[in-house]
Amino acid sequence: MSSDKMAARPAMTQQARRGLPKPLRTLLDTSGLIAIFILLFIGLSVLVPDFLTGRNIVGLLLSVTLIGTIATTMMMVLALGEVDLSVASIVAFTGVVAAVVTSNTGSVLIGVAVGIGAGAAVGAFNGFVVARFGINSLIATLAAMEFVRGLAYITSGGDAVMITVPGFFDLGSAAFLGLTLPVWTMIGCFVVFGVVLNLTAFGRNTLATGGNAEAASLAGVNVRRLKITVFALQGLVAGIAGVLLTSRMGLGDPNTSLGLELAVISACVLGGVSLSGGVASITGVLVGVLIMGCVQNAMGLLNVPTFYQYLVRGAILLLAVMFDRWKQSRRAGGG
């Protein structure tokens, strides 16, 4: 609707744009969000000392692995027109399970497998409840969020679980080309789900279902199976993230990652994923994650007092979305 309203003044915007140098103009025109990110990144590199150093960038990447990894499947869930609030609990639960199982069996492999499997099982259950009974995913996963967090506390006895098998730590610190396994996992997830979303029928069906579930069903998409699969994938990836987190930290903490779900969802939405389903882009999500990570990192480097960090985070989030909206309507108007 609002794009309709903006549509009326193409001439004006076209003029305004002439003032900018050519490459910047093209960039602004093709993607608002990527442009925001690049400008932000350049700005931070220039203004914030120590920002553009190899070790800071590695640190930055590491700090967004959890959000980034889970954002890839959250993107799928949102594309489907659903939402998953239980991811933070799954991270905590699978981490605890992996720690307990590894400690008890002495086998890293079994521990990791059971941990990840537990995540996938929770995800599949969410999907089943949503798809089979037609229950709103917000409420279903909110229930799962409580339930699974409870399971994490019960499994761990409320206290963080130490891991005694040294091989477990290697998972989180194994490095290749200067990046550790968690970072590679995040990169892998971006690649895999980027491919899934864009290059497979499964991905397109997910988008279609998010756009209009009834039409998708009539067009032969097995909506129920699709939903279960997507939620199971979400659980699986959250499980992987949880296990890696545990191995990085050296302990399975049932209290970990409170509030992670909102951070992940907002990274996705910042990246242009529609909450009403049907619209998603993997580059958008990547950029959304990176914007949030860079801002947080720069605030740490600049020693911004905690309280003001809230203001900055809120303001950046709002400004980024507003700028993106403005870009979109301008593009619609400018033709």
């Binding site: 903490d253 209290n255 970990t256 480097l301 905690t306």
Partner: protein
């Protein structure tokens, strides 16, 4: 290297306690000519990012109150990797064996001991008021998800039991958060269920929670002289209560000097970095009971 730079990482950056610690450290830094970077580490992930961040800024070491004591090995590991020195404040690292990591200097109060102090203060006041132990119940506002909270309430419980408190008269009110309203919600059913008791004692992990319990007790018609609530910290919540016109069930609080904690640990670390003199392995601090009568004095003494 021209200027020393240290980090100060805390688990709850919004809480007055930790803000005081960080502020005190920063103030000391200005006095002595080193820089303090205040960072938040609310979970393991954030702590490691904070350490990476410090490393990017070229810091020489950091003071930390970890979100989980068992993160010790991972944090020490990361610090060693970057050649940074670590001291802990408030919460001491535990090693894989469950024992404190002795190689990391620590300054703090043990949660259990401070809890005991609360319990003892309650016992003393009960005795002073001459309460009948059979008619006295304890409202333990618990938060078992948080190990520090558990240590504190366990300490208080043990001290009360040692003073002859009836085990069966201790009731748990598990709160979901650490703020006043969640304590209020947790306390309500316990109080409503156990109307037969004449007197109540209330304790929890902090002042806000005890206050919530006291508010709930007022709701159920218990007057100020029927209730002894004692908190832990020495923050605005307690001062607010002491300033009210008439006394309430919030009898006192065990105040601990966050300012001293912040200053001392920062100083220890700075000395370690500049003179290579390692601070003592474990310094234990204690709290001071602060009541309506002496709160201004204690507040000034502790520099809160």
């Amino acid at each position: 290297q021209d200027e020393v730079k240290i980090g100060f990482i805390v688990k709850k950056p919004e809480q007055a306690w930790f803000i005081n610690e960080q502020d005190a450290a920063t103030a000391l830094g200005e006095e002595k000519g080193f820089e303090v970077v205040s960072l938040a580490g609310e979970d393991g992930q954030q702590v490691l990012s904070a350490i990476d961040n410090l490393n990017s800024q070229g810091a020489d070491g950091f003071v930390i109150c970890p979100p989980d004591v068992r993160l010790g090995p991972a944090i020490v590991n990361r610090a060693e990797q970057y050649g940074m020195k670590v001291v802990t404040v408030d919460d001491q690292f535990l090693g894989p064996d469950g024992e404190p990591i002795a190689s990391v200097p620590h300054l703090g109060m043990s949660g259990y001991k401070i809890g005991r102090q609360v319990g003892e203060a309650i016992a003393a006041e009960m005795e002073a008021r001459g309460w009948d132990l059979d008619e006295t119940a304890a409202l333990r506002i618990s938060n078992n998800e948080l190990p520090t909270a558990k240590a504190r309430t366990d300490g208080a419980t043990d001290a009360l039991l040692d003073a002859g408190f009836v085990q069966d008269n201790i009731f748990d009110a598990p709160q979901q958060n650490t703020d006043t309203s969640s304590a209020f919600a947790a306390a309500s059913p316990v109080l409503s269920k156990n109307g037969r008791f004449e007197h109540w004692v209330i304790y929890a992990l902090n002042e806000e929670s005890v206050l919530g319990g006291v508010r709930a007790s007022e709701q159920y018609g218990l007057s100020a002289d029927q209730v002894i609530g004692i908190g832990i910290n020495g923050s605005g919540a307690a001062f607010a209560e002491f300033q009210r016109q008439s006394p309430t069930g919030f009898y006192g609080t065990v105040a601990v000097s966050s300012t001293m904690h912040g200053r001392q640990t920062a100083d220890n670390l700075y000395t370690w970095i500049t003179t290579d003199e390692k601070p003592p392995a474990n310094t234990e601090t204690t709290g001071t009971l602060m009541t309506r009568d002496n709160w201004q004095q204690v507040r000034a003494d502790l520099g809160l």
